[in-house]
């Protein structure tokens, strides 16, 4: 306890926000694994603790706090002590009625005391790392509380009010939703601070934004993330530049922003943010790099029609498993293998929200297949005076040839036609025409379809399949 108090005292004296935040952190640091337990004492009352805290922040040379500040910090650390008791209880399951929900509620009081301190302009901006700790652990406790609650009760709650419909809440994230609201309060607290930038809470904005993103992603509330993005965009000129924040926060922010754009199908922006996140990411942060690549690879497939090299994926076995079968099928223009790979990985793809993007890789597989037809089709007979180099590829290709290729490539090893909806035998010529029309429409092929002649007329001069050399 004494160490704890002197930590607080020292932090307040030197106005060291990080040290104060460390004192507030409700988790044991690596060098002091029993920290929470030493704070947790059965033989002491809250009043006594508060008195000690008040004493610590009051009577010490060097600590010059106003009365309001003393009261406010006493309140924060008094609540903090109460929360520690609940947390230790929840960790140990010691008391019969202990739970993470209680720990969450107790911690929420800590956060409330903190927020009040800022709202009443008692706390100065140097102490904002405390807000981050407050929000971050609120989120963590909420997750634990929800998990605990889910084990204890069923999945669907009943409508307890007088509403018209039978079912109340669908989701099992009540506590985390609440945490989201509280963290949003911190966000508002930071972004609306009008103090000069040097002493503004705006320096907390990206920290809190990242907390919000993490929370909303877990809640699957992407639309709320978009709101945050919008609000950031409007205030951006008044914010400290993103690159003035620690790299860890930059990477986190860029990753989430990239994924949000990715989900909105704004692949150009997504690529920009994700690439930047990937470049900034610490080279040893394998897990983070893997996460970034999970979205950057599909993004790349759509924007540039390129596939990841084996070297890029080499350090990440999980990504290899995820992308290699698909990549191989796309490269070979093997529609059957593509459909099979997509189905095989479906669950994982959907879980990571990349299914709907990867699905579009089929276009590239198809393009590669049609390109093969074009190449195999050979050249026009040499005309008089033409040299071998000058001869041109056959550019008028019967639709039947493409149709045959599609049927051939749609076969799945094992014989059964894949459920992607393209049965090998049942593919009609009209459907192949439709696929060809799509290729042309999407600029994957250059040329036109002549129904009258039943042919595809491709452009000459090495531009039939833009970007592929033929």
């Amino acid at each position: 306890m004494d160490a704890h108090l002197s930590q607080i005292r020292e932090a307040l004296r030197s106005q060291d926000g990080y040290a104060l935040a460390a004192a507030l952190t409700p988790a044991a640091p690596a060098n002091d694994p029993t920290r929470l337990h030493t704070l947790y004492r059965d033989d002491i009352t809250l009043n006594a603790v508060q008195a000690e805290i008040r004493h610590a922040v009051t009577y010490h040379d060097g600590v010059k706090l106003s009365k309001a500040e003393r009261t406010a910090w006493t309140e924060v650390f008094g609540n903090h002590w109460k929360a520690i008791v609940e947390i230790v209880n929840a960790e140990q399951g010691r008391e019969r009625d202990s739970s993470w929900t209680k720990a969450f509620e107790a911690w929420k009081e800590v956060l409330n005391a903190l927020i009040r301190g800022y709202q009443t302009s008692v706390f100065e901006a140097w102490s904002i790392p405390c807000l981050y700790v407050g929000g971050n652990y609120l989120r963590k406790f909420a997750i634990k509380a929800d998990k605990q609650a889910e084990i204890q009760q069923g999945s669907v709650t009943f409508n307890a009010g007088f509403q018209d419909d039978i079912v109340g809440a669908l989701d099992q994230h009540e506590t985390l939703e609440e945490a989201g609201r509280q963290i949003n309060r911190i966000y508002t607290l930071c972004i609306t601070d009008r103090a000069p930038l040097e002493e503004s809470r705006k320096w907390g904005v990206y920290y809190v934004t990242n907390l919000l993103f993490k929370t909303y992603f877990m809640l699957n509330r992407i639309s709320l993330c978009k709101n945050v993005m919008r609000s950031l965009q409007t205030t951006e000129p008044d914010l400290p530049p993103l690159d003035a924040f620690p790299k860890s926060q930059q990477v986190t922010f860029k990753y989430y922003a990239g994924v949000i754009y990715f989900l909105e199908e704004d692949y150009a922006k997504a690529e920009q943010y994700l690439t930047s996140a990937y470049e900034l990411c610490h080279k040893d942060a394998q897990r983070n790099r893997e996460l970034i690549l999970t979205y950057l690879v599909p993004c790349h497939l759509v924007t540039t029609h390129t596939l990841p090299t084996p070297a890029l994926l080499a350090p990440y076995p999980r990504l290899q498993a995820l992308f290699t079968p698909l990549s191989r099928a796309i490269k070979r223009g093997d529609l059957g293998a593509f459909d099979a790979a997509l189905t095989a990985g479906e669950e994982e793809f959907i879980k990571r929200r990349i299914y709907l993007t990867l699905e579009r890789g089929r276009d590239i597989a198809l393009r590669n297949l049609f390109r093969k037809v074009f190449i195999v089709g050979g050249f026009e007979p040499l005309k008089e005076g033409q040299t071998e180099e000058q001869r041109i590829r056959r550019t008028r290709i019967p639709i039947e040839e493409f149709a045959a290729a599609v049927r051939l490539a749609s076969r799945v090893p094992g014989g059964e036609v894949n459920g992607g909806g393209f049965g090998a035998e049942e593919i009609e010529q009209d459907e192949v025409e439709c696929l060809l029309a799509n290729m042309i429409y999407k600029n994957l092929m250059k040329g036109y379809i002549s129904r009258e002649h039943g042919k595809v007329v491709l452009s000459k001069g090495g531009t039939a399949f833009p970007g592929t050399g033929v």
Binding site: I166, Y355, A437, I449
Partner: protein, 514 residues
């Protein structure tokens, strides 16, 4: 009795009328005697010599019904019932409510006894019997069928008497605070609700017979229930007047207008399950006959409300939401449709029956319509392999896949072969997909295509429809005739369809409306 007598009676009635049921004059309390017109009402209402009781036919019939062997509830002695019966009638006479009570609708005395027993002996054998697994799924459905089909023959098991209303109320208070409830409790309650429904439908079947005998006309506006006071006093005796927890309805009207609740509803205006079941049949018939959506929607909303306030959550609930969703879909009322969908999604999670694949398919189609990728991904997350094999779900997924890849050929084939009512949803986006396909075709095909080709590729019913669509899209200048064949000059379309497509997709911003 003469008309003048009835007038007199009306003259001095108001003194105590105003105290209990002020709405007396408008109360069509004697619906059951409707053929004799309003005069009858006065006749009945006229004071009979209070002491020398000349029981009305209704009261007599009530007594008869109470003693009928099929009304007996095992475990309740006949003498007990007699005492209660006496008490009911005496109290009514003393309060002067003999005439105002609708005896045809008053629950039988044994019913009240059952309730009281319920309060005295909570728990016990009931919980034990509920430990059996599989109860919720299998037997539930059967039970309901049995109850509705042959109510009279069903003998109550001995523990049935523990399921009186007041017991439910005690229980339900904890239920309202949803969180602490264990699965077993939930099952127990569901079962109680079922049982209660059983009781009431039995009691109700008699009622229906009577109603038919008297050939009552419109059941619609039978709003006030004159016996509510008496009934209330019993409830209060049982100490069940608390406002928390679900209500147990006592209202017997089939139809009811929807009103948004701001407080717990009175039991008298809530219809119990047995009545709601009739309501549903009635509404289905009316919908078929009259097709009046405003009316039907209103009625369904009140039906849903009654289910909610009574916490009735079973296969019937699912059925109600499914039917309302289908009707709303047919009428293009997406707001209501979505509300039902949300509820159904939760109800399906509890495996209460119904048609989950059909409605999962609607969800998928709906998210195609709203271009909602995030929610679409969500739907996909929750699909099981079995789900995906269901024809409706398979179809919806293929539609999604076809559109994702721009495969309009496949899309319009699927459109023409949509299971269930999915076509109503697909109709909402088929127009814009035609524009998209046209943009595509016009870029890919040169110099022209036959009109017939478009008609077939874009799923039009006839060439005329196709031409009309082109005209509506301001593309009439692309239609030309060559050698007696109508052609579309794709090469001349320019960005016409591209722009139209962009506009059509922009308009879909109705997500907030969900």
């Amino acid at each position: 009795m003469s008309r003048s007598a009835s007038l007199i009676s009306r003259g001095h009635r108001p003194t105590h009328r105003t105290l209990d049921t002020p709405a007396y004059n408008t109360v069509p309390a004697r619906r059951t005697l409707a053929p004799q017109h309003n005069m009858v009402e006065h006749t009945q209402a006229a004071p009979k010599p209070a002491k020398k009781v000349n029981w009305s036919p209704e009261v007599r019939e009530y007594v008869q019904r109470s003693f009928a062997p099929e009304a007996a509830i095992p475990g309740i002695e006949r003498t007990e019932m007699e005492t209660k019966l006496k008490q009911i009638i005496t109290q009514a006479a003393e309060c002067g409510t003999l005439e105002s009570i609708d005896w045809t609708k008053l629950p039988l005395p044994q019913y009240y006894i059952q309730q009281e027993l319920g309060t005295q002996q909570p728990g016990g054998p009931l919980e034990a019997s509920d430990m059996s697994p599989n109860w919720a799924n299998g037997s539930l459905k059967r039970k309901m069928d049995v109850d509705v089909a042959e109510p009279a023959d069903e003998t109550s098991p001995p523990w049935k008497k523990l399921n009186g209303r007041s017991k439910d109320f005690g229980d339900r208070i904890s239920y309202a605070s949803k969180s602490q409830e264990s699965k077993i409790d939930k099952r127990a309650r569901k079962r109680q609700e079922e049982l209660k429904a059983g009781n009431e439908s039995k009691y109700n079947a008699d009622l229906e017979k009577r109603k038919k005998r008297f050939d009552i006309g419109k059941p619609g506006n039978e709003s006030p229930r004159p016996w509510q006071n008496l009934h209330h006093s019993y409830r209060d005796d049982d100490n069940v007047g608390g406002s928390r927890g679900p209500v147990i309805g006592t209202c017997q009207t089939i139809e009811k207008r929807y009103l948004r609740l701001t407080a717990a509803p009175k039991p008298e205006i809530v219809r119990p399950l047995s009545v709601l079941e009739k309501t549903l049949e009635h509404l289905k018939k009316k919908w078929r006959q009259e097709n009046d959506y405003t009316y039907i929607c209103d009625q369904f909303k009140s039906l849903r409300q009654d289910l909610t306030v009574q916490h009735i959550k079973n296969e019937f609930t699912v059925n109600v939401y499914e039917i309302h969703a289908r009707i709303a879909l047919e009428k293009g009322d997406l707001g209501e449709f979505n509300q039902c969908q949300t509820q159904l999604r939760a109800l399906y999670k509890e495996s209460l029956g119904g048609h989950p694949p059909e409605f999962v398919a609607y969800r998928i189609l709906y998210f195609i319509y709203t271009c909602n990728r995030v929610d679409m991904n969500d739907v996909l997350t929750h699909l099981t392999i079995t789900d995906k094999q269901q024809p409706a779900v398979r179809h919806a997924l293929q539609v999604r896949n076809a559109l994702a890849l721009g495969n309009y050929h496949k899309f319009f084939r699927l459109y023409l072969d949509t299971p269930n009512m999915g076509a109503y949803l697909m109709d909402m986006f088929v127009g814009r997909e035609r524009l998209a396909a046209l943009a595509n075709i016009c870029k890919a095909y040169k110099p022209d295509v036959n009109l017939r080709f478009l008609t077939e590729e874009l799923g039009f019913e006839s060439d005329e429809d196709c031409v009309q669509f082109l005209i509506d899209a301001n593309a009439q200048h692309l239609i030309s005739e060559k050698d007696g064949v109508l052609k579309i000059l794709t090469a001349k379309a320019g960005s016409l369809f591209e722009l139209a497509k962009a506009t059509a997709f922009r308009k879909v911003d109705i997500k907030g409306q969900i």
